[in-house]
């Protein structure tokens, strides 16, 4: 029976794409951590910055 929850589906698919094993017992904690990280990521993402703004690490050849 496939899950109908998009976050659970994403976790299943991402684990498969990454080749990382996914014990069902780990899923609630992984989901909790992913939700916190996504919330914080959105906090950063919603802050507007110009397209030509350089990321912090600058590679020097």
């Amino acid at each position: 029976m496939p899950s109908s929850d998009p976050t659970d589906d994403f976790i299943e698919a991402a684990a498969q794409a990454l080749g990382v094993p996914l014990d069902p017992a780990w899923k609630p904690a992984i989901r909790g951590n992913l939700e916190v990280t996504l919330k914080l990521a959105r906090l950063v993402e919603e802050f507007p910055l110009p397209d030509d703004f350089e990321p912090a690490p600058v590679y020097k050849a």
Partner: protein, 460 residues
Amino acid sequence: MTTDHSWSTASAIADAVRSGETTATAVVERCFSVIAARDKKLNAFTDITRDRALARAKAVDAAKEKGPLAGVPFAVKNLFDVKGLPTRAGSKINRELPPSQHDQPLIERLEAAGAILVGALNMGEYAYDFTGENIHDGPSRNPHDLSRMSGGSSGGSGSAVGGGLVPLALGSDTNGSIRVPSSLCGIFGLKPTYGRLSRARSFPFVASLDHLGPFARSVRDLAIAFDAMQGPDPEDPVCTDRAPEPALPALSRGAEGLRIAVAGGYFRKGAFPEAIEAVARVAKALSVKQEIELPEVHRARAAAYVITATEGAALHLDRLRKRAGDFDPAVRDRLIAGAMLPSVFVNKAQKFRRWYREQVLELFRTVDVIIAPATPCTAPSLGQQTFMLDGVELPVRPNLGIFTQPISFVGLPVVAAPVPLKPLPIGVQIIAAPWREDLALRVAAQLEKDGAAAAARLAL
């Protein structure tokens, strides 16, 4: 009769060895008996390097010229390479690595100054931790109250220095792992500028944010160790080419002539009363009235969190595939979640880092030093899972670093200075502009001189 140097500063030990009042061999022998007695309670050490330490002490005693750290015992977080030991980095998995062929360069530099490595120290698994708890080795314990956390991830470093096992230790700080244990264990810690000290031959965590630095019970000891460890290292591509800029010579100038402000806003909002009290005491001691706000600091913390989760996950991806069951579950689940975060967010976080850096550097045109709490509270109990921050119940493990994380995010140098509150100490961060460790150390020295900051001698 051997003098007990277990509560002496590193500089007092070096003076006693240099003057002939004692020998490095006597100091090291005594250090090992103190470790044998007290570490049963503290669980700070994971490895003892007795044979090499005694051989090294003999060499120091025989040398005509004795360095500024002559005979000073020190220990390192077990993510530093120590010749002959596998670099376990708090993990079960890394114990299977072959023994290191060489010491980490900062160990070499401290030993070149006369210091003597006596062992390696407990830490949170792979440094993804602010508690000092370790599922494989047991928790390092807080010397002020053995039922409480040492703080992490350099928990053994905080416990060993705070508990009088060694006067000097090294640790790493990615988001607060030097400053958090310094705060909870009531000692001084220095997280230098990003890129100041070589990270070669240490087990990494987040290349964008990793720093190494010293812990001690006096500011002078931090400065002596820092000065001995500076200098370029071609083995670490992030390490600066700047010539060493010694901090010790100007230490006695204290806070004279420096423009100091207290960080408000975010740094008050999440603070327990003890953190507010510690900052108020320090501000009073320094006669500081000015308060400033770091812009968008909550987003800086968020961006550091994102970069940590994803770079950490990338580092450990193959171990997660093959050895997931051998991780601490709390670390594993965070790393797996980090691996799943879409990469666009990481790039956004690195762009934000550039913006935030520019804003913070602008602030340093008007002030020399910023004071902020190091942790939101004093040491939580071992095993405590949550606490109330600003009216919200949050997990302890990631949130002990809410005040340190947005500062290391842009690589600013910070001295964590212990404010001796009762019943438990708590640290403040003394934050300076990049490459101005000297200023942060001068302010810490002033606070120490005035008694506003002090590392306690404990009955253990």
